[in-house]
């Protein structure tokens, strides 16, 4: 024992330092190689301005969404302010509040469940790893399962799922309500306290987890916050083609 200790003591300090630095170097090289995700990295020059444009448009989108929410809130306040003017206005305002609630135009808070999806780690696309990427269909499946579990409001990366919501793959990206959302994908739901229990009992959910997380290695995580806020839909509610049937034309009594 004393021989080994003596030999260790005889090693120069600089060699120990170099050894430790080389170990760190090896660790970092390995980490760097492993961090290359299945999504192939491109290095062409024309991408830089496109990324810049996309990020600029995303920032514009956030700003426009904030303006929409602000205007809706001001309209709702202004409408309420007219209530004193008559019973019909009061009745219409109440009906409008309910309609907005049903439509997803109001943020909802309650018992929460969050399902997070991420691409499977470490496998290169060259190895034919399309199944290792989270797709729009995966996210739609999670959204459906949450509805089946009793969710009353669902959002994907804070894009509220409403009657007009599409979740599509486009150019390797995911668009929700035509808004670009970046991975990891967080599907948030508010609803009854037993949502997770309902989800866990669903045979189709168990199949999904076994297939996508179990076999393909998609990373899936679940959280149950005691209270969660699902934001209001911040997109267009314009209708151009759909009209009420003649028999149900607007009436004074909502």
């Amino acid at each position: 024992m004393s021989g080994v200790a003596g030999r260790l003591r005889s090693i120069p300090t600089w060699e120990i330092t170099l050894f430790l630095a080389l170990v760190s170097l090896g660790f970092l090289i390995a980490a760097q190689v492993r961090s290359e995700t299945p999504r192939v990295r491109y290095t062409s020059q024309e991408r830089a301005p496109l990324i810049e444009t996309a990020l600029g448009l995303q920032a514009q989108q956030k700003s426009l969404q904030a303006q929409i929410l602000d205007l809706r809130s001001r309209i709702a306040s202004a409408e309420v302010a007219t209530q004193g003017s008559g019973a019909i206005a009061t009745q219409l305002n109440d009906a409008l509040f309910q309609a907005r609630l049903s439509a997803g135009l109001t943020a909802l808070e309650g018992n929460g469940l969050v399902v997070q999806l991420e691409d499977a780690p470490q496998v290169s696309q060259a190895a034919g790893s399309a199944d290792l990427l989270v797709t729009g269909r995966d996210v739609r499946t999670v959204v459906e399962e949450l509805w089946l579990a009793g969710a009353e409001a669902v959002a994907v990366n804070d894009e509220r799922v409403v009657s007009a919501t599409s979740i599509i793959d486009i150019g390797g990206s995911l668009l929700v309500n035509s808004a670009y959302v970046a991975p990891p994908y967080q599907v948030k739901a508010v609803g009854p306290a037993d949502m997770y229990a309902q989800l866990a009992e669903s045979a189709s959910w168990v199949d999904f987890v076994a297939s996508r997380a179990g076999q393909n290695g998609i990373r899936l995580a679940i959280a149950q916050p005691a209270s969660l806020l699902v934001p209001a839909y911040a997109g267009s509610v314009t209708i151009r083609y759909a009209q009420p049937p003649a028999s149900s034309a607007p009436s004074a009594n909502p």
């Binding site: 961090s35 426009l64 969404q65 309609a99 739609r140 607007p250």
Partner: protein, 224 residues
Amino acid sequence: MHSRSSQVALAVVALVLGFLVVTQVRSQAGGTGLEDRSAQDLTLLVANLNTRNDQLRGEVADLGRQLDSIAAAQARGDTSAGQLRADLVRVRIWSGVDAAVGQGVRVVLRGPVTAVVLEDLVNELRNAGAEAIAVGGVRVVPATIAGGVPGSLSVEDTPLSDPVEVVAIGNAATMTGTLTRAGGLVAQEMATNQGLAIEVTPADRLQVPATARDLTPRVAKPRL
């Protein structure tokens, strides 16, 4: 000599180490998800973001006009009931609470129709701007899900007969074009589901019913 060579070796290792640390940190922090997209993918994304932002600008303009109109009505001492009523009709149709009529497409599916095919179709119709959709006479709202196996599919506990009919109100030309383009959804589904036939017909006037679901949240509370 020893100390000089050790200093040089350490300096080189430290330099490489520093470079790798920065690279690693940057690769972990690159949260936009755009870094690994091809130029073609990014072009497609930019086009979509532009379209979406145009829609949002239109919505901002509409809401601004609506707010001005309410303010003007208040200034005149009116109740603005007409404005409220129009808003109510629009939101109720949009959400599925009320029935709707208008131009659109009728899609008829024959053969081994699966729940996934129906879900893909509804998703694509929404993406093409459908304002109201019904599957087998059932209005599609956010929580509407098709289930079952081919031959015994159902939507909202309503069994679907063969053929399955899907009706969507919206721009008939846009929806028809989106569904039937080369490599589009119809071509993809028919190529991957042997025996499946999908027919898309534009129509000047179609009707979709109101949802039978109560869309009012029971447990969750509104945050105003």
